[in-house]
Symmetry: D3
Subunit: 137 residues, 6 copies
């Protein structure tokens, strides 16, 4: 169904770079589960390494809380129409405490944003000067 | 520059439905400023009323904090490529306390999500059974 | 397969707000069929109520004919890549009289628009002054 | 501002293929005005010829009325975020009789479609069997 | 599963216009295989003819090599989220010599472009004067 | 005009991490010119460092030629509607030898891909079994 082969655990074990990344994913997440995304990326160990090391930093501890980070991720994935990403990050958000009430509220915001994006684009509204950050200011 | 006329305050005053919405926007936000989006929507008072009443509920108090709501809104607007919406909601997020550190972290998540959305779509990764919510379950 | 549970008729009956919306959908459409979209939205009765009441107005009688409204809806859904929406609104358009000839002509326009959108974006064509509606004019 | 040069009338006159297309655009539209899109495409006469000959057929007489065709075109352009295309086709729709009431109603549909596209994608609603057209049926 | 019927070979044989296009596809590609896209377009012979004749020219011999053309095609299809198109053009690229190494490198570029597109849109970076092609220059 | 401040050379000099990245961009490109994208990213040195180090690898020497890489980048940027990205990578492609003939041919492919993406989505064409790569195969 994919355009690339999804690597099995046995194949991953046989490639030192893939094995190392899979081991770090398991250690970081505290779970033995490796989802299909990483099994597809394993076809290109360089891309696998770079993607995981970036994701680990971006979604790791910072100034935004973990649930907010997942919601931002899902919002982008909905707007881009990526079914896999919506499924995987909604599951991740649930694991981080997303309640059904918050999920409904989140979907309402995403729906509203898509609606007003379209209204703004349709009317080609010019940016209010008050919203601009001046260069050098 | 817009595809519709942007209503002045004088014009808004002369239409009872537009006047009422503008008054409610000002009261809700505690500011006299009415941004161009609403001045464009004023051309269709029914659409203006429905959009404002929905936005007021969706972005009002709920189970997600106000800053998280704005970040979700901006994330959608970036993915959809709506310059006006990005400007207006980034300004709103700043008004709600977004720090430069949080803004950088937020942009990094949006960038990462767009990147992995593309990688997933390019590889056409099938959804892991573990991510599915079964109907009726 | 969905990220939320799809409500059965029995569940809908047990929630007064969901029951009322489902009853109104059935009465408005003159059909007992409730499609999955509404069964998913039932998880958030507030969002269900607002979405249905807006959709009922927007797609109801107005100055554009019902078939034109459906075609506009499908066009957006194609550009956004929403398979469910394309299926449901193409079915709705057929029910409102869309002929195979009109469907082919419609698809040709959508294809053409996507093509010229890309050509325009690729060349970054500046808007002709003749197309602008001036503020205040 | 563009990524290609926009051809002047004098340049177009000097190239027999561009001159012929520009003459046909003017004759078909009954207007001397050639908008920037065609002046950009003139850099590749083959692409210019193919685009114009396709557009002339697709937007010409058929089973859908001319205003409906323009609305479908604008809907796609809004969803794709093509400012030039939104401006040029909104101007064309006005020239074909679009009233302010119809424009407002149209924008409401486009906004609604974008909203429900997002809600459907966010919930990953499975297509109802009733909506499917079977192969061979 | 489709919104239109997919034509069988027997049906295509019975329509002279569809038969002619299918014959030309087979002759051009040196293969008896007609993929589903063309079987769907067969419902509108005019659209089928125009699409095939354009595609044949655009993807035929020119100044860009055949593999580069396929990669550009896949890149657009990923960004637009068209699963069918990603599958069919990845298969075509493989047939034209795409190696697994090149595929990984290609996916890395597409991912990177989507990421920086989002970062640029999120920051609303103004175009550097050095990048502009002046009109008439 | 941006939502963040664009750093001047003097400011960049004063921050060791930004100074180091700007120096590496200049050395890698053999040019003193730093475009606005990097001046915006400078607000978040961590994001600046990661973005530049990834881009340097992805767009650096590999199995695809430099011009093909730029064309893939522009194709994504057109589909996503990122004006800045289209301008900057079209300028980069020209610097790497893109001829006007190749540019026209490239735009024709991007336009064609967007058109057939829409036709495929509109018809919801099922993937031909022949295009699938089986897991484990």
């Amino acid at each position: 169904m994919a355009t690339v082969r999804l690597w099995s655990d046995a194949e991953a074990e046989a490639d030192p770079r893939v094995r190392a990344v899979f081991a770090d994913i398991r250690a970081t997440r505290g779970s033995d589960f490796i989802n299909n995304f990483w099994r597809g990326l394993a076809n290109d160990p360089t891309l696998l390494e770079r993607t995981w090391s970036s994701l680990k930093v971006v979604m790791g501890p910072g100034t935004l809380d973990p649930l907010t980070k997942e919601l931002v991720y899902i919002a982008v994935s909905i707007a881009n129409g990526c079914p896999y990403c919506i499924h995987s990050h909604t599951a991740a958000a649930r694991a981080k405490g997303l309640t059904p009430e918050q999920h409904g509220e989140f979907l309402a915001i995403v729906g509203m944003a898509n609606q007003t994006n379209a209204l703004v684009n349709g009317m080609q509204i010019p940016v209010d000067p008050a919203f601009r950050v001046e260069e050098g200011s």
